[in-house]
Amino acid sequence: MQFNSTRQGMAWLHTWLGLILGFVLMVCFFFGALSVFDREIDRWAIPETRFDPQPMPSFDNLLMGVFERIEPDEAEYKRMMPEYHDASAGEMTPRLELPADEYWAYTTHRDPVLRMGAGFRVPFPANPEGHNHIHGNTTIDPRTGLSVPDHHLKIGSEWFYPLHYSLNLNWNRIGFFIVGIAGFFMLVALISGVWIHRKIFRELFTFRRHKSKQRSILDMHNMTGVVALPFHFFFAFTGLIIFVAFYYMPVTNTMLEPLHSAQQAIEAEEMGLPHERAGIPAPMASVDAMVAEAKRRWAARDMAGEVGFLQMHHVGDQNAYVSIYRAGSDRVALVGEGIHFNGVTGDVLREDPPHSLAESIGDFLAGLHLQHFEHWFLRWLYVIGGLLGCACIATGFMFFVEKRKQQHAKAGSQGSRIVDAFAVTTVTGMVIAAIAMLIANRIIPSATEGKGDIEKLVFWSVWALSFLHAIWRSAAVALAKTNPAWREQTVLIAILGAVAVIANWISTGDHLIKTIFTDPYWAVAGVDLSLLAGSLIALLAVKKMTATHKTERKQETSQEKLATGEAAYE
């Protein structure tokens, strides 16, 4: 395209791509900010799991028994078994008689419950080279080893969290790609934004809220964008980096796959970990002793820590081995410092070598985004960063509308009216949908069949309703006024935030006095307090909007008076 200057081209990119993809980015930033506390939202939404995080329990005394009780998933058996099994070689093994080949358990410093799973071998496989595993998962209370209900939707880690990188649109992973494109254009918008905003430092602290609406909105847009610029940049960038090799640009998993697998085979050989079962049954050594040894070796490297991930391969075979990984805690890079043990003798087979420079940078960047570390203060700073991002995008929409609505009203264009309705939906509508989902979670009885699906339905339909409401009330924008939906939906946020906190109190008996003072449980108290803070901010915003509305009305009536006066004179 021909622009008169680079600056003009940059301004075009910033305005239009920021507008189009801003709606997606708003979702990424808001639900990304909520994901910082996904495990805590899980606790709020599943009261049965409101107890303190536990370290990995004893394998020999507790986990082994649980693993042996895990059954292969029925649906997966039905779906995958015919594909994996070679009917000409032998009879199909019934589901409950499948032999286990692999066990794993995973926890973090924020998880009270422990997630575990088993992979079951398929005898007479059609493709002996393939993975051929039928899986079965469970979630337990690590204090007792008893299963906790696993059918409840973990709203934090299984809804808000995937929403921020996949929009929960799983058809052909379309959501991943939309978010990927939005992430790329986020970087474009940041670079072009810096380019066109000449007074980066001189106006860093400038917020002229008494000047015109357009001026103060632009000030806020610049301030929230610039003060958190490193955050915005690195979260868009690292988000892209996390998925690039798998989804966005799968060079090494498609075109270069032959080289990749050849190299991997060489690496696996160097690692010396048995790739296949020996076919000779053997008893397993004590895994607890291996865990103790792994912890001793971590401590010797000056990075003492707990076990985060534990995996046993080739269960019950002479080639069995156990891989033990460290939980993320005191540093950013997501490494694991894996130590691998012979499952039969208990000897150390291998320690993962330190990563190369490029890999370490990658570990740091991924760790920075995935935040497995233990640092509550930094988590909150991340939430602030995410909300600053939301404020930046939201004020971007508002500025777009403010700048054009007079002109559009005169020309009879509906452009700013439509943009504004979308903005209402993605700013206030999104918050309403999220809170409505939490309220539904507390109102629907725990035993209800398909509770999670109803919650999802509530989420989408409330969001759709907020869009219809925004459209219905949008006529004002075409007359260069403010859409009343902004104020009405903000009022709704203020009410719903408080309702959610009360619903939690009534349904579980956990009120703030209990969760803060008498029986502290910060995961739930934190969610409650955040909801109330949201309500409060919404109230302040309503107050401000009402004041603006009044002055607008005053100006209108005086103009009308003037107009009628002139008419009378004529």
């Binding site: 001189r202 860093l204 809220r209 003060v227």
Partner: protein, 100 residues
């Protein structure tokens, strides 16, 4: 607990730094005081505080973590100072030490 104290110190230092950065700009100095700011001096003070804040972060955490805390603190502090200048600029008066 020690870590928490270091983090608070880091945060306060970052607020001071951002306050001085803001006051080194003529427009913001005028919101607080008459005359002109000694811009260079205030800005140097700001940079010193940014550096000290980084050291305080290093006292609390592993280096890789400290960098993130430090950057996020700068964002938060800058935003707070910006809001203070808009709503209660008088709060920054004690920092307006050096006039040109």
């Amino acid at each position: 607990m020690n870590d928490a104290i270091w983090l608070i110190i880091a945060f306060v230092l970052m607020l001071l730094a951002m306050g001085w950065f803001a006051l080194s700009l003529k427009t913001h100095w005028k919101q607080v005081m008459s005359g002109k700011p000694a811009s260079r001096l205030l800005r140097s003070l700001g940079w010193i505080c940014v550096a000290l804040s980084g050291l305080a972060c290093l006292q609390a955490d592993h280096a890789s973590m400290a960098v993130l805390v430090w950057i996020m603190l700068s964002a938060t502090a800058a935003f707070i100072v910006g809001q203070v200048l808009s709503y209660r600029p008088g709060l920054l008066k004690p920092l307006a030490l050096f006039r040109a």
